[in-house]
């Protein structure tokens, strides 16, 4: 009985802890440049202060067969190939994707980054096409891409 009580208490604590993890929503406009080639596969990942992948926020590209073209992210993904992230279609040259991310407030200003990784069939892979520091400024600025992405613009909802 005692054990049962303890278990209930633990569960209650856990539930309240999860509810208190405050998150905020950010609208993300991802604008591709007019590169020539097939639609790009793109992942958006949360990178911790040590530079490690912590969470996948968004995957653009429908066919898991091509996930391995996103080489660095794939190393993280293939350890546990199950996606809880949002998924969408691959994005073609010149096109855009608008989506909303939820990010925990506690991660802001702690050295975290949002990494946008891009790959296009038969073309160069960009491990960090765009990288945005998770700071108050970073999350409202327009950041130019270095590969297939023209820019990424975030705005708090």
């Amino acid at each position: 009985m005692k054990v049962f009580y303890k278990l209930c208490l633990a569960l209650l604590l856990l539930a309240s802890f999860q509810a208190s993890a405050q998150t905020s929503k950010y609208k993300c406009l991802l604008q591709m440049s007019n590169y020539i080639g097939e639609g790009a596969y793109i992942t958006v990942s949360l990178i911790n202060a040590k530079g490690e992948y912590e969470k996948t926020l968004y995957v653009m590209g429908d066919d898991a067969q091509w996930y391995n073209s996103l080489k660095e992210w794939y190393k993280f993904y293939s350890k546990k190939p199950k996606l809880s992230a949002k998924t969408g279609a691959s994005v073609a040259g010149g096109d855009r994707s608008v989506t909303v991310f939820e990010i925990e407030d506690s991660k802001i200003g702690k050295g975290y980054k949002l990494r946008f990784e891009t790959a296009v069939e038969d073309q160069k892979y960009h491990a960090t096409d765009v990288e945005i520091p998770l700071t108050a400024e970073g999350l409202t600025a327009k950041t130019d891409g270095t590969g297939y992405i023209r820019y990424v613009k975030l705005s708090k909802q």
Partner: protein, 492 residues
């Protein structure tokens, strides 16, 4: 008559432009040009580093055209090339050189630091690519082993070079060489498939018997692998009878993805008799694989009416859908012709079906559009007319608010928009992201033709996106329009 001549001239001049870079022309390499001839072409302005639309560059064309190592080396060292350059299907130059069997070139590329372990999009490293293409020059593999590749290495799915090479290795020369390097004829892949099972892909019965004699076991996987065949070939009914009747292998065997022989046969040409044979042996024509695809769906992407009829007799639900929400009719609308689509509709296929994303068949038709080449029939218009006749509303937006114009502008083809002009679509409709077809066209256009056409049909230029942009703003950011110095002032 005049018009025909004009069109012919126009086509000729267009294709003239497309073939500008002589170093990307197969015909050029067929003439066995020496190094001086190649240098002369470069001097004329032919870019030695240009990629064609399939990502072949002059180096790959030269290797595949069996140019001398001297010529290929010269090209590799031109600006923009180099041993790290990715080409078609994610291959490096070492993949191509290993396939053609040019030992000198392979050794040069390895010495220059080519990545021996680079996997192409089919997960083949250069050594695997050589083996998969039946390269029998053992000196190629010697070069890889000398450079540090472990002959006993197991690749993706647990295959080794012997298993990869065996379908093309009729007299087992390569297999015997690999055995001398430490592999074994009895090696199996991660799923337990044997050298016999792999050899069944090309179905040489003498080779299969020789393998049995050498003590190689056979498993039910041989049946499915025989149906997979190789890229260019299909097996004859004798091969299947040998496997199913002589060796008593299971006709109903499936792959790890849940595919039966019918999933593979349905995609190949002239397989009606073999499909009937397997159905008579108890293979379920309606069985879905793990992605929900049935043989009927796969056959509906083709044009073999006889195969369709055969599969239809074993199908209870013609409207079954795969994981993406696509039915056999969706497959037909995407990839086949109006005749196949009409047949399915006549058998009860639902014309109003929507996929998981809420897109209807007209969306799939436009999304799969490719401009007809040469004398190809206009399947697009025939299928569009059919869908309309059968009651599909072509003017209705998709679930995300996109109209067929939104989907069509991405193809950069005014001819396609004209084919849709009678459908009654609102050219100024905004999708869920607030974009009109004109906005979308301004973002993805390669020239001004589609933009001008949309404006001529009443597209408003003053509508703004949710980020407060007009079509003029979006076109102004379009790098391809900038590069082509295309004026977009007509969008102001």
């Amino acid at each position: 008559m005049k018009k025909t001549i004009f069109t012919a001239l126009l086509l000729a001049s267009l294709s003239g432009f497309a073939q500008q870079n002589s170093l990307l022309s197969q015909d050029f390499w067929k003439t066995n040009p020496g190094l001086d001839a190649v240098k002369a072409e470069v001097a004329k302005g032919n870019n030695p580093a240009e990629l064609n639309p399939n990502a072949f560059d002059p180096v790959v064309m030269a290797i595949n055209g069996n140019a001398s190592a001297e010529t290929v080396t010269y090209l590799i060292n031109q600006p923009g090339n180099g041993v790290k350059k990715p080409t078609h299907d994610g291959r490096n130059y070492l993949h191509w050189a290993a396939r053609t069997g040019d030992v000198k070139l392979v050794e040069y590329l390895i010495a220059q630091g080519s990545d021996l372990n680079l996997e192409d999009t089919h997960n083949y490293t250069p050594a695997q690519f050589a083996a998969a293409n039946g390269q029998t020059n053992t000196a190629i593999y010697d070069a890889f082993f000398k450079a540090g590749i472990d002959p006993k290495k197991k690749y993706k799915d647990g295959v080794n070079l012997l298993l990869i090479a065996i379908p093309a290795d009729k007299d087992l020369t390569l297999a015997n060489y690999f055995v001398s390097k430490g592999m074994s004829l009895k090696d199996v892949d991660a799923s337990g498939a044997t050298a016999f099972d792999y050899a069944a892909r090309t179905g040489n019965i003498d080779q299969l018997k020789a393998l049995i004699k050498a003590g190689v076991k056979y498993t039910d996987q041989a049946v499915v692998m025989a149906a997979q065949g190789s890229r260019r070939s299909a097996n004859t009914i004798e091969v299947y009878k040998y496997l199913v009747e002589d060796l008593k292998l299971k006709a109903t065997a499936t792959t790890a993805e849940g595919q039966t022989v019918l999933h593979f046969l349905a995609r190949k040409e002239n397989q009606a008799d073999i499909i009937k044979y397997f159905i008579s042996k108890g293979v379920d024509a309606a069985k879905a694989d793990k992605e929900g695809n049935t043989p009927l769906m796969l056959a509906s992407a083709g044009k073999d009416v006889q195969v369709l009829q055969t599969l239809l007799t074993g199908t209870k639900d013609i409207n079954a859908v795969n994981a993406k929400g696509e039915s056999a009719l969706t497959f037909a609308i995407q990839n086949s012709n109006a005749e196949v689509a009409a047949l399915l509709i006549a058998k009860g296929a639902n014309v109003q079906i929507k996929d998981k994303k809420g897109n209807n068949l007209a969306y799939h038709l436009v999304e799969a559009y490719r401009a007809p080449r040469g004398n190809q029939p206009d399947d697009f218009t025939a299928k569009l007319t059919l869908l309309k006749e059968k009651g599909l509303n072509l003017a209705a937006p998709q679930q995300d608010g996109s109209t067929l114009y939104h989907v069509a502008v991405v193809k950069n083809d005014v001819a396609l928009l004209k084919k849709l002009s009678a459908a009654g679509i609102d050219v100024n409709a905004q999708n869920a992201e607030g974009l009109t077809a004109l906005h979308k066209a301004a973002m993805v256009a390669k020239d001004d033709s589609v933009l001008k056409y949309l404006v001529s049909t009443g597209a408003k230029t003053n509508i703004k996106t949710e980020f407060d942009e007009t079509a003029y703003d979006l076109a102004g950011e379009n790098e391809l329009l900038q590069k082509g110095k295309v004026s977009v002032d007509f969008l102001k």
